[in-house]
Every structure is written in structure tokens, then in C-alpha cells.
Symmetry: C2
């Protein structure tokens, strides 16, 4: 397969940016169909493909019509959170590989259905977790797999992103976040930090997440923001938001490791993914750097973080060597899309597979359940049904997130 012909479902802000990237930088990908629930967005996508590629793709507001087409090899869906799983399942049932933008699950049942559908149809499904391919995340991944941190014991991360204005303007912008924040309460967006951490910890390949608790603060940020910046007559100025400003989720793994996630999007702050990796011999903190036992001359320990940049000469992941970042988000988006397209072209498993997708998404629904029950511990299902104790690294791609495949570069 020299070319991949894709159907594109979802053309909101994020979908638009990603479509541009694919059209600009991936000549081996043809966008043969575009779709959004909104006609104006669908038309925007159609026109963009025409402008960039010189042909007019099939355009529809009903995603199933994309799936019916024989000229669609694979599907990309940067749709609203609520639509991801349905579109993935319907794509697999139509025999088409599918890659979904990130988001969390609404129920555990839909995670199971995702897995069952992939297993029974034999069609893979991938989550486009771009942060797994971040420069820092991959450098740390490389160092973790080399054993430089010793035995991993604890990881943490957060989605620390001041989205008060985006949430407040949700109706104006037709954005899915607003309705979720108005009605839910949980770790709504776990995967940017959890994805890389899960790969460090071999989740679904020799390890798994077994249990979590989740605790939510009050919801005060968006209301205060609206009143101060939009006025008392603005949309939702009198709404009692349910989504707590800070949601802390603690996850336990089968081999005793803990993962702490923070969902943090409606109070003032600077952006961060808050990555922390702790092992018996080293530590990483996103904003401080790396520290390895014995790193300081003449000492068996080290109590000073060194910026990650100083480790890049030796430990930069090969995907980032000689790579001039293109596309959005500092070049991560490009990598994760190439990972998907290569798996389609080579008919290999994607590096983030259906078990990863289900396990990572499930954290959202489980966090909501825990919070609803007063931070009760809840068990995390084994979406592999036991296969995790025996699953080996799948090392057929440069984009592999189980090991670093130096010899494929």
C-alpha cells in the first residue's frame, strides 16, 4: 500500500488543524471523505482538501456514509468526546482501521465494546495520544527502558491547562467541553499524561492498572471567570458547574507502582503536563529535570536536578534525531499520525492498541464513579482478559512504544 485513503470525521477546531497538517505534510495520505455534524464545517473541510490537493472529497454530515465507501481505507476521528467510541466501533465493523483523538470514556461498557469489536473483527483501533511522542516524553521513555531510573515506583502527570475562556465560550464555539463541565465530575481528560506513563510502566504488557480513587475539589473557577470577564448576563453565568476545578486520581498498578493524575483546567496557571517519574535510582520532574544516583561526582546519591536538555545528546529518542518538528504541538502530532498511517500501510498493530485505548479511556468513567461514591476505591477492569501477563513488546515499528527499536532507524 503506497497511499492511504482516509475518511475524516470531525472538523471542529482540533480537526481542522490536524487536517491541515495531513494535507500539508503527508503526500502519501489522500483524504477521500470529510464529515462533520455541522454543514459549515464539512464544507470547510471539503474546500480545504480541494485547495490543498486539487480534488473534491466526498462530503457528508452523516459519518456512517463515510464508512460505507469502498475507497476509504482508514478513518480518523477528531470528533467530540461523546462520539469517539461509536465512530471507532462502527469503523471496525465496517472493516476500516480507525484512529481516534483523545478523550475519556463515559462508561466501562463502551470500553469493553471497543475491545470486543476489535477482537472479533480483527480490525485494530488506535488512540492518537500525541504526548506519547513528545520530545521529553520519548527521551524519558528511552532512559526508562535503559534502566537509568532503576525500578520504577511512582509516576505522576496532569493536564494543567487554563481553559476557562474556552469552557466559558463553549456554546459560542460549539465546543464539547462546556456541556461536559456543566454536568459531569471526574478526570475527564487523562490520556495526555497517562499515555506516556502507562508505556513507561508496561501497562497491558506485564503490568496493569488495578484500582483507583478519585477526589474532586469544588467548582469555583469558571463561574468566577464568567462573572469577572463576561458579566452576569453571559451564557451560564448562573449555572452551578459540577466539574470540580482540580480532580486528583490515584491509580495502583499490579506490581505496586502508583500513578497520580491531576485534571486542572479551570483555575489560573501556566500550561504543564506535570510529568514525574520516580525509580529506585533516578527521578524526573518536567519543570526541574533529571537526577540519577551517583550522577554527582564522588557521591552515591544526587540531590540536584539537571535540565533534561543535558541528557539529549546521549538519550534522545531516535524519532527525534534529525527531526525538525512539523505540524502542531511541537511536532508530536506529526509523529502520532505517522505511527497510525504506517500501521495501516504495513498492516501491523498500532503502537497504542485497543487495550491501551480502552484502559486509558476507562479512567474517566471510573474516576466519575469513585467521586460519585465519595472517593471510593474502584477496580479497573482487565480489558485484556488475562492476556497482559503474557503479552510481549510488539517491536515491528519505529513508532513502537514498548521498546526503543534502534535497529529500525
Amino acid at each position: 500500500m503506497n497511499k492511504v485513503r482516509i475518511g475524516w470525521i470531525g472538523l471542529g477546531g482540533r480537526g481542522q488543524g490536524l487536517l491541515k497538517m495531513v494535507l500539508d505534510y503527508m503526500p502519501d495520505v489522500d483524504v477521500v471523505g470529510v464529515c462533520d455534524l455541522y454543514e459549515d464545517r464539512t464544507e470547510w473541510g471539503r474546500a480545504l482538501v480541494e485547495e490543498k490537493r486539487g480534488y473534491s472529497p466526498f462530503a457528508t454530515t452523516e459519518y456512517r456514509r463515510i464508512l460505507e465507501r469502498n475507497d476509504v481505507d482508514a478513518v480518523i476521528t477528531p470528533s467530540a468526546w461523546e462520539a469517539h467510541v461509536d465512530i471507532c466501533i462502527d469503523s471496525m465493523l465496517a472493516g476500516k482501521r480507525v484512529a481516534t483523538e483523545v478523550g475519556g470514556a463515559y462508561s466501562i461498557e463502551q470500553c469493553w465494546e471497543l475491545v470486543r469489536t476489535s477482537e472479533r473483527t480483527g480490525v485494530p483501533c488506535m488512540m492518537l495520544e500525541n504526548c506519547c511522542y513528545g520530545k521529553n516524553e520519548l527521551t524519558i521513555f528511552n532512559m526508562v527502558k535503559k534502566g537509568l531510573f532503576g525500578e520504577l515506583v511512582h509516576c505522576a502527570g496532569g493536564y494543567h491547562h487554563d481553559l476557562r475562556d474556552e469552557v466559558a465560550r463553549g456554546n459560542e464555539k460549539r465546543h464539547y467541553r462546556l456541556r461536559n463541565y456543566k454536568n459531569r465530575n471526574g478526570e475527564l481528560y487523562p490520556t495526555h499524561e497517562l499515555g506516556p506513563l502507562a508505556k513507561y510502566l508496561n501497562i497491558n504488557r506485564g503490568n496493569r492498572m488495578t484500582m483507583l480513587t478519585s477526589m474532586s475539589s469544588k467548582a469555583a473557577g469558571v463561574h468566577d471567570w464568567i462573572i469577572r470577564n463576561k458579566g452576569e448576563n453571559y451564557d451560564n453565568a448562573d449555572h452551578i458547574f459540577t466539574q470540580g476545578d482540580i480532580v486528583t486520581t490515584c491509580i495502583k498498578c499490579a506490581h505496586g507502582e502508583t500513578i497520580v493524575l491531576t485534571h486542572d483546567t479551570t483555575l489560573p496557571r501556566a500550561y504543564s503536563r506535570g510529568n514525574v517519574v520516580r525509580g529506585t535510582r533516578g527521578a524526573y520532574e518536567e519543570k526541574r529535570g533529571i537526577l540519577i544516583d551517583g550522577m554527582a561526582e564522588g557521591q552515591t546519591f544526587s540531590h540536584k536536578f539537571i535540565p533534561i536538555e543535558e541528557f539529549c545528546d546521549e538519550h534522545l529518542h531516535p524519532l527525534w534525531k534529525n527531526y525538525e518538528p512539523i505540524g502542531g504541538h511541537d511536532g508530536m502530532d506529526y509523529h502520532v499520525f505517522r505511527a497510525f498511517f504506517e500501521s495501516v500501510k504495513n498492516e501491523t498493530d498500532p503502537p497504542i492498541d485497543v487495550y491501551d485505548t480502552a484502559a486509558w479511556m476507562s479512567i474517566t468513567a471510573l474516576s466519575e464513579a469513585s467521586i460519585a461514591c465519595g472517593s471510593m476505591p474502584v477496580a479497573i477492569p482487565d480489558f485484556t482478559n488475562g492476556k497482559w501477563t503474557n503479552r510481549k513488546p510488539y517491536v515491528r515499528s519505529r513508532y513502537c512504544l514498548d521498546e526503543v527499536c534502534e535497529d529500525l532507524f
Copy 2:
């Protein structure tokens, strides 16, 4: 009362350092009795008082003999964690004000007994939580009370301190930490971070901590450290430690705020108290600085942290103005001891009272309970028995931690 005559109970490493500070810098304090379980330490203390002050204090290895003495006005106890509460209770029963070094409780019952004893004898009891008087902590306290962070929503902190060598050498050093780490599992040392945060959040005066969950990672750090640095024949090289390397505790408050504590002492890292304060209008992160909505010119928000030093001109707490730090821990120790001695001299309530002491210490026992029950949520008792809804700031001291009493300076 011009002079305070104190009995000193506990002369391990910490007790020795503190005794030196008092003898060197506090001429209004006479140390009339010294005590430690170990005779050599008691003698060390006696000799130090003699050297510094020219008189020989009463010296004993039985702390009750200190309490019997009429020339002892008040008691300081930097003893082992296990002894704090008994010594406090016995001191109050003997009619002597008492200040205890920090540590956690072993049971909820002992916290109640502390409260009951203080209430029935009318004798105050104070925890010497030095970090409440840290320069950064007090600057943030000042800014919180001025409302600069808006409505507080979330706080976090940790005891991030690589103590592997201290723990490993516990028997050699006769240190209490080792036996606790060998046998317990929980948030063993919560108060350095929790103390200041509790004061920001008005705990026990209009707010209280209602519930927590606690999760522990595996225990791998000390064992790996011993094997690599001390050898396979060293003390406890084959012991299976129970204390997890990272313990994460999530606390919910009555008004919806959350507090996340991290106990982190047996893996490589740099020291930090990890303080985080989040409000609707501003944020503080110990290693990054402060950020306030509207701080950046022409913006309603701000996405850049500014070092805390840049706020000190305007917001430095008066205790730190014209103060050249003396004593240990960057000058915090001096302040917290002065806070206690002033309360003794003036017969006022201490700024960290028995309710604070009980509530803060209880987190340890409750964390152990939660972990023992698979991270189950556990209720935090109301040690004020309802008084918290009506307790007002107690503003009779420059050392007050309820408000900033500018007019007392």
C-alpha cells in the same frame, strides 16, 4: 513572667540542634531540666547547658521526673515520634504548657486524649511546626489572607526528602524512623506541608478536614539503597520494608477544597516541600513562583509564573522584615520557638493549638487506616466537637497564624 524555665525532653539529633539554638539565642529561656531515654544523650544535654549558661540543669532519663519539678514552667519535647503524645498529655496533667516536635499519630484515640486533656486541664499544647513560619510559607500566607489568590480551591504539599541513608542507618543512629518504616505504611510525616496549608484554609476556624483517601506505592527504595551502598550483610539488608516509597493522601475539606499530600523519603530526589496553592484568581508553586489573573499587562489572565522573591517587597510577612535568620532551617525554628515562649510568657493560646495539633497528627493514623483498607475513604474526626463553625481568629500575637496582625509589629 520575664524568664521561661523549661524542661527539655528528647536529645537525639534534632533535640540537640534545637537545644543549642535556645541556649545560644534565647537569654529569656532557662533550661532547668534535661532528659533523654539514653544516659549519654542526657549527659550531653546537661554538659551543653553548663557550658553555655554556667549552671548544671537537673538531668534524668525518666521524663516524669522533669514534670514533677516546681521550677519547670513549660516543656519542650523533641522526642521520638512514639513519645510525643504521652509526654504532652503528662505535661498538661502536671499543669505545664508543652510544645511537641512534629510527627504523626499512631491512633485516633491518642488525638482525642490530647484534646480532652487540654480541654479539662485548661493547659494549652502546641505543635512546633516550624514550616508554618517559613519565609515562603508566610509570604504566601500573607497573600492568601489579602485575597490575592481569590477563593482557595486546592492545595498540595509533600515531604520530599531523600532519607535513604538516615533510614538505613537507623539502628546505628538510634533513630525512630527506621522502626516505623520497617513496620508501618502511611503518611507518616504530614505536618511540614499540611501545617501551613491548614492555616491558609482556616482549618478549625470556619473550615475543617472531613475525609481522606491514601494510596501507597511499593517499598523498593531503602532495600535497593542498602544492597548497593551498604552490602548484603548490612543491617536490614534482607528486611521486607512495609513503608511504601511514595504515599499520596487526598484530603477533602468542609467547603470543598482539596489537599494532596505526598510522603516521599526513600527514593532519589532533591529536597522540596512541594507547596502548591490554587485559587480562583491566582496560583503558587514552590519551584515556579506566583501567578495572578491580570498580572500580565493588558491580559485578564496570566500564564507565566513569576519568582516569589519579586513579591516580597510588597507581601513579605512582617515577621520576616528586618529579620536575619538565626537558628536552624533557614530561621524557621527560631520563629516557632519564639511563638511558643511568647504564649507561655503572655499566657495566651499558642498559634498552633491542641485542635490543630490533633487534626494534623491524625492524618497519619487515618492514612494508615485507608491504606490498610485498600485506599478506602475514611472520615476525619472533628476534634473541636463542633466548635470549628464558630471559632474566630485568635489575634493576640505577632506569631498568629489565623491572620496577619500588622498592628502588633
